[in-house]
Symmetry: C2
Subunit: 157 residues, 2 copies
Amino acid sequence: MVEPTPGYELPLQLFAAFRAIIDAAHDDLARHGYPDVKPMHGFVFQAIGTQGTTAVELGARLGVSKQAAGKTIANLEKLGYVERAADPNDARRKLVRLTAHGLDMLAVSARSFDAIQAQWAETIGPERLAALQNDLRTLAPGELLRLDVPGWFSGDR
Amino acid sequence: MVEPTPGYELPLQLFAAFRAIIDAAHDDLARHGYPDVKPMHGFVFQAIGTQGTTAVELGARLGVSKQAAGKTIANLEKLGYVERAADPNDARRKLVRLTAHGLDMLAVSARSFDAIQAQWAETIGPERLAALQNDLRTLAPGELLRLDVPGWFSGDR
DNA sequence: CATGATCGACAACCAGGTTTACTATATGGG
DNA sequence: CCCATATAGTAAACCTGGTTGTCGATCATG
């Protein structure tokens, strides 16, 4: 039995597919008036959620230090996607929440991802896409949301 | 018909699967005496290949500037994975080739990736893995080898 | 043979990550 | 009640890897 593809192709295919989705979503976002969001920001927005969070908690969710989370928050604040407010119950904490702009962008991106998924379902058939997702869940269970990508990719893990 | 998963999960699943493979391969590499290789280096080694290349060509293959390629080459040279030699036919060019150490590491990583692929085939069945790869090829055709991941992920593309 | 293109290197800068260190605030045991 | 300890946020210094701009050296061509 011959080996159909060398083993190193599989991860590259997975990454190319990931990248294709992200690029498509961000093309969509740029067309809808959000040209300044970066692929990374999607992770952050998901981690902040509609409820808001704090820098420490955000760092924990994303797998980076609280300082890195703080930097990212500061950037998103400068871009107007996020706002910080004092926590009345704990003067140390600062609540980070999405602004109206951020929430709108989150909604747009959600529609974008849904549209891409729908398009993929159309391309290969919904049952095959469902099977693909099912297989991925089996093969790579665990946390989906990890932001330490730059460090993970180039650092020593 | 209900939407089974929100659209944003699909890219995260793809990325998690990619990451799972890379992490497994690098655990393997660390066990086999290559603890200092980073996920990024795999891309570079594949792009250099067994034939060798130059900085400009490497940058073009990986989608980064020649300067960035040069920096990466310098790092890999310091680690002993790569060596530079003058091109007898063109005094401007410097051939970059994998050392014996680098070639061995490439062989180990190839075995690693094959083993992981085999394990995945065992887990979900070879025909489903083949279908998965086939679908991925359909959904995300094009260049597999692009190294501009850090810049792509956090930069403005 | 002179002009233009290419290769490799250097410098300056940026983004994002880390560790270390510090202040301010909470919390809980003596 | 008070002090010791833990936690939240911030800042500084540093690392890696990316970018652009520049430059000298070398080829290639009109």
